[in-house]
């Protein structure tokens, strides 16, 4: 807003500066003058239907709705004049005539916008003597509970679906008094952002199903935190009663999550009280697990690691979750280095470590700038499900007219128009190579292939685009030719003058890379330290059957090890099979720490709830381990001290996607009749998410359990939907899944997710599979 373009208006006697044409309600909000409203929401289109925001404007004989009244110079507004108040009271009375008086049993009670305004404006006795409207409550899935009799028809939820979530699921059917909000035909909402309607609904018509009837708003305290399930680092409020987190709400941060929260970040808190939560240290003695006290457990861990190490530190390996905090990662690294091991990694689902890695991979720019791109090329990712709020930003760009092009081994279900170039996992790499050739790359695999016109066209547009971005994501990272894909992507971006970005894993992938939670001089990466088994391992925050690229190989290596020490918040059969000591780890909401999100923003948080049982924050556990093993420099009293030392070590290191592309890399994935595509499903990304019952009940989670293959392949193999199929992969055990023909999967490929029950038996995320009817 430049000085010349500002105008002055007067509201309740106060002079306010405003941009001409701005809506009165926004100008008042900015000045802290509150006007009641129900339908208005700054992120949604204007509907002006609740009629609650009526104010008096000088020289206008009737009250005007502030949400759709543009300001003009010299305008005089009163928000609390008799005319305005009478109008607001009128709207309020109408809203209340059909609203049930069930505040005492309503989950919104105490934080209901209707209740709040009613206290200010409603009259005491209802003059409405007629029967109230009653509306049936449909089941719209495991996340959102409905009490539609309470609905005030503000249509925020409907507009949210159309405009933000990008799927119109809720609608307002019927006319007039008969209008009802719902799905009309009962079905579950499928959006990964569905939970936001809980916040948007000003009354108790749409509430959190998992939270239902658990607590009253005023009984809870609110603490801040950072969501720990993807690189966005959404800012959250935890709501607790008696030290228990009962729900999670978004905390506004325009640059990060705006005012939204993904369902994954909203409902994963349920895992904190999971039945298999690890509450006490466990030590394996004679093949039997025993609960023990911390002292003995830590001693057992220290002794075990020391023994496995012998006098060669490199006999140890460390596999650390990319969602662990900076403090945890720093101390784990310090411990491993102290023990003389260079074998350390956080890239646990990455399959290929050939070539020079990017220095510190990251998004390549601010999150908010995603929505300003003109062209986005996405290689091997599904941001809509991988990082839902990044997906949301990309959708915003697309809705503003950006072109979005996907190169993936299978077709995605998107909520905006985008081009999807789909090919089986091997041809997919060649597709990307084609684009690289169009970009002028002339070495390696590129030599053997022919560029098609559409590649040339795309490259031209990429080059011409003002703001262009090439993003590389999780599916590419899980590919055995990731090194090659990354190299091609970088060359394309470079040639086009586009930005390159990586959709890094976990909540702190950038932090882990900054810290160098990667192999040191001569050290082994995540693959290598399992391919060449070590004698001892340190596992931090992972479940080896679910969080490794090749669980069969990983479990095998861990089985053979002399000592495996795991820091984990949960018990798990795989962990209990391979580990020797399991130390109960506080989950992210239970400890203080720091994350660097995908755009490189450092976000610190405090423990919102005390750790469950005897669980302890990772930094404390690692501190004692370091001291027990007589490694110097582990005397920390607070997480802040750890953080300061870690940040000190980072110095001014910054995210940097630069690396030296190696043109000589070859395509290694062999041709095969059927190649696996091992997607990482949205609700499988980490141990917490996998233990949130509400998330596991969603269609997204349930659909991930199927073995999906192209209908043509299914026909050829004689499989029909529902058949039980035995899957074999070289060097893996067999596992059985239910078949589902799906045209989204190209011929010659089998979509079989990683990190789902049953997948622990399998090997790598991509590669040959054979199928037979079970």
């Amino acid at each position: 807003m430049t000085e010349e373009s500002t105008i002055t208006i007067e509201v309740d006697g106060r002079a306010l500066k405003a941009a001409p044409g701005a809506m009165l309600i926004d100008v008042c909000d900015a000045a802290g003058i509150h006007i009641p409203r129900f339908c208005y929401h700054r992120k949604l289109s204007l509907s002006a239907n609740c009629r609650m925001c009526l104010v008096e404007v000088e020289k206008v004989p009737r009250p005007l709705p502030a949400c759709v009244t543009p300001v003009n110079d010299g305008m005089k507004v009163t928000t609390n004049s008799p005319m305005a108040v009478e109008a607001q009271k009128g709207a309020m009375e109408f809203l209340l005539i059909n609203h049930p008086l069930d505040c005492p049993i309503c989950d919104q009670g105490g934080e209901c916008e209707l209740q709040d305004v009613a206290l200010g404006y409603g009259s005491d006795a209802s003059r409405y003597a007629e029967a109230k409207r009653v509306v049936a409550d449909p089941d719209i899935g495991p996340l959102v509970a409905t009490d539609l009799t309470r609905c005030i028809h503000c249509t925020r939820c409907v507009r949210f679906g159309a405009e933000i979530a990008g799927i119109r699921e809720l609608g307002a059917t019927g006319r007039g008094d008969h209008m009802t909000i719902g799905t009309y035909v009962e079905h579950a909402m499928g959006s990964e952002l569905a939970g936001n309607v809980i916040d948007l609904c000003p009354v108790g018509a749409l509430t959190s199903k998992p939270f239902r009837f658990q607590a009253r708003a005023w009984e809870m305290v609110q603490r801040d935190g950072i969501a720990a399930h993807d690189g966005v680092g959404s800012n959250v409020h935890y709501h607790l009663r008696r030290d228990q987190i009962l729900r999670v709400h978004p905390k506004d941060n325009e640059a990060v999550n705006e005012c939204w929260l993904s369902d994954r970040d909203r409902f994963s808190y349920q895992a904190l009280s999971a039945a298999d939560r690890l509450l006490k240290p466990l030590v394996k003695q004679g093949g039997e697990w025993r609960e023990t006290d911390w002292q003995s457990a830590l001693e057992a861990a220290a002794q075990g690691l020391a023994q496995a190490r012998g006098d060669d530190g490199n006999q140890l390996g460390g596999l650390l979750s990319p969602s662990a905090s900076l403090e945890e990662l720093y101390l784990a690294k310090k411990l491993m280095r102290g023990l003389g091991s260079a074998n350390l990694d956080h890239r646990l689902r990455q399959a290929d470590f050939r070539g020079d890695p990017p220095k510190v991979p990251w998004l390549g720019g601010p999150i908010a700038e995603l929505e300003e791109q003109d062209l986005v090329v996405i290689i091997g990712a599904n941001p809509r499900k991988d990082q839902p709020l990044l997906g949301h930003r990309i959708r915003k760009a697309a809705m503003k007219g950006a072109e979005v092009v996907y190169f993936n081994p299978l077709k995605l279900d998107l909520n905006y128009r985008a081009a999807q170039w789909v090919a089986n996992p091997r041809d997919w790499v060649l597709e990307v190579a084609n684009l690289a050739k169009a970009a002028g790359v002339r070495k390696g695999v590129v030599n053997k292939i022919k560029v098609a016109d559409h590649h040339k066209e795309l490259f031209k547009r990429l080059k011409a685009a003002d703001k262009a971005l090439v993003l590389v994501g999780d599916l590419a990272m899980g590919h055995p030719d990731y090194g090659l894909l990354r190299c091609l992507a970088a060359q394309v971006a470079e040639a086009a003058g586009a930005r390159l970005g990586f959709l890094t894993p976990g909540a702190n992938g950038v932090g882990a890379a900054l810290l160098g939670v990667t192999p040191g001089e001569g050290g082994l990466d995540a693959q290598a330290m399992l391919a060449e088994p070590r004698k001892g391992y340190l596992l931090l925050g992972i479940d080896p059957g679910f969080d490794l690229e090749n669980p069969a190989q990983g479990l095998n290596a861990l089985m053979k090890a002399e000592c495996v020490v795991a820091l984990s918040s949960f018990r798990s059969p795989d962990l209990e099979t391979v580990a020797d000591v399991i130390l109960p780890l506080a989950a992210a909401p239970e400890s203080a720490g720091t994350f660097f999100n995908i755009e490189g923003t450092q976000q610190g948080f405090n423990g919102a709830a005390p750790p469950a049982g005897e669980a302890r924050p990772g930094w404390k556990i690692l501190r004692v381990l370091g001291n027990l093993m007589n490694l110097g420099g582990f005397d920390f009293n607070t997480p802040l001290q750890v953080r300061d030392e870690a940040l000190g070590m980072l110095g001014d290191a910054a995210p940097d996607n630069g690396f030296e592309p190696d043109p000589a890399l070859e395509l290694t994935l062999p041709e095969a009749e059927l190649l696996r595509i091992g997607e990482l499903p949205i609700y499988s990304v980490d141990p917490m998410v996998r233990r949130a019952p509400a998330l596991q009940a969603t269609a997204d989670a349930q659909d991930a359990a199927y073995l999906r293959l192209n209908p043509e392949d299914a026909k050829r193999l004689g499989f029909t939907a529902g058949d039980r199929i035995t899957v074999s992969q070289p060097q893996a055990r067999k596992a059985v899944f239910e078949a589902r023909p799906d045209p989204a999967v190209p011929q010659g490929a089998v979509a079989l997710c990683t990190a789902i029950p049953g997948s622990q038996a399998l090997a790598g995320r991509f590669g040959e599979v054979t199928l037979e009817k079970a």
């Binding site: 009629r51 709705p65 109008a87 709207a91 005030i152 007039g176 008094d177 209008m179």
Partner: protein, 425 residues
């Protein structure tokens, strides 16, 4: 002096045919405009001069409305005709469509030329099968003659005109609800501003006019704005197609000059049925507040006269009621209409129309309470002027009118729990 404008083909055989229309000079104005490439501003000036006010109900000057279009802005513009005719008591557009569809088409082509629209739609209410078929047949004829389509009569002007059928919703007569409906959505009005001239169909500048307004255009341009204006009276130019119904001998459609005394219109319509006394008249469609019969007999049929009497000329739909009608019952039926037809988006209208109806219904049933009349006054005050579109006002007006002029009948219902009329009072 009847049937000079919109219904000027009525004397002819098959008045809806191209032949009949040609016989009254049809499409000549269009030819002249296109040949001479008349400046759009001149057309607008002529329409302004004619004092033609929108015949859909609001009475907004048509020429002024057309002037709101910025013809130099790039991109599509649309012309839309409102043949939704849902206002109870109104049945004039049906006759224009049935008996003179070509004149509407000519008027629309000229309007489209004036505002620079390449596409137009005529929104016809879904129940109007016969009028719709007549209109479609006329469109086909006009296309064959080269009056529609590309490069009309070699002028370089393109205009595609289509019918869009409604499906039963009074609210779609409201212009922005109608636009939403053409877009394939629920007919829920948009708030204004921005007005359709800026942000209309598909978000593009759009002019929307009533059937009668558009059908008047060819005659205005043929005979001149002054001629049309002089047919009527001050502030009410031209003739008006009145629909008159109720307890009269010869209900129907009469195109007569503005300012004609009501009693003349009543006489044309054959006078009161069975010679009964005239009790009340709703002069402009059911949304217009009622006027007692005696007072009405003194009024002329034009915007100012009816407005001064506390009502409105609206769509020119005159409902005449004799002394056998119970006004509580009449209001109950009207309130039910608004309750059923509220689109549901605005709180005061969605909740208030139902509340009004339930109270009036209760009074009609003999279950009224002493405070009900006060309550009705109060609720109407909280609906009128507080909604996105004028349906809120339309629902409130009849209640206010009835309570003003026939309060005693309502009071009687409350006090005696029965009807004053059937009690012979």
């Amino acid at each position: 002096m009847a049937n000079e404008v919109c219904l000027r083909t009525l004397d002819h055989d098959q008045p809806w045919s191209l032949e009949a229309y040609r016989a009254v000079g049809g499409y000549e104005v269009l030819k002249r405009v296109l040949q001479e490439k008349t400046a759009p501003d001149d057309i607008i000036a002529e329409v302004k001069k004619s004092n033609l006010r929108g015949r859909g109900g609001a009475g907004f000057p048509t020429g002024v409305k057309w002037g709101f279009i910025n013809r130099s802005a790039p991109g599509d513009r649309y012309l839309v005709c409102n043949s939704d005719e849902g206002e109870p008591g109104t049945f004039k557009d049906r006759d224009i469509l049935r008996y003179n569809p070509h004149q509407l088409i000519e008027g629309m082509i000229i309007a489209a030329y004036t505002i620079g629209a390449a596409r137009g739609y005529n929104y016809i209410r879904g129940e109007f099968q016969e009028p719709y078929e007549r209109f479609e047949a006329a469109l086909e004829e006009a296309r064959k003659e080269g009056f529609l389509g590309e490069d009309i009569l070699g002028s370089g002007f393109d205009f595609q005109l289509h019918a869009h059928l409604g499906a039963g919703a009074y609210i779609c007569g409201e212009e922005t609800a109608l636009l939403e409906s053409i877009e394939g959505k629920k007919g829920q009005p948009r708030f204004k501003p921005p007005f359709p001239a800026l942000f209309g169909l598909y978000g593009r500048p759009t002019i929307i006019n009533n059937t009668e307004s558009l059908a008047s255009i060819p005659v205005i341009l043929e005979k001149g704005g002054d001629w049309f204006k002089d047919l009527g009276v001050e502030n009410s130019g031209g003739t008006k197609v009145f629909s008159i119904s109720g307890n009269i001998n010869n209900p129907g459609v009469f195109e007569i000059p503005m300012g004609t005394p009501f009693k003349d219109l009543l006489q044309m319509a054959g006078g009161m049925k069975d010679g009964r006394p005239i009790k009340a008249v709703i002069p402009g469609g059911s949304s217009a507040p009622v006027i007692p019969g005696a007072q009405m007999m003194e009024l002329t049929m034009d915007y100012d006269a009816i407005q001064q009497a506390g009502s409105m000329l609206g769509s020119g739909a005159v409902i005449v009621l004799d002394d056998t009608n119970c006004m509580v019952r009449v209001l109950e039926r009207m309130s039910y209409f608004y309750y059923e037809e509220s689109c549901g988006q605005c709180t005061p209208c969605r909740e208030g129309t139902g509340w009004l109806y339930r109270i009036v219904h209760r009074i009609e049933q003999g279950k009224g309470r002493q405070e009900d009349l006060e309550l009705l006054d109060d609720i109407t005050g909280k609906i009128a002027g507080r909604t996105i579109c004028a349906l809120g006002d339309a629902a409130a007006g009849p209640v206010q009118g009835m309570l003003k002029h026939f309060r005693d009948e309502f009071q009687y219902h409350i006090d005696r729990k029965r009807c004053l009329v059937s009690a012979g009072g």
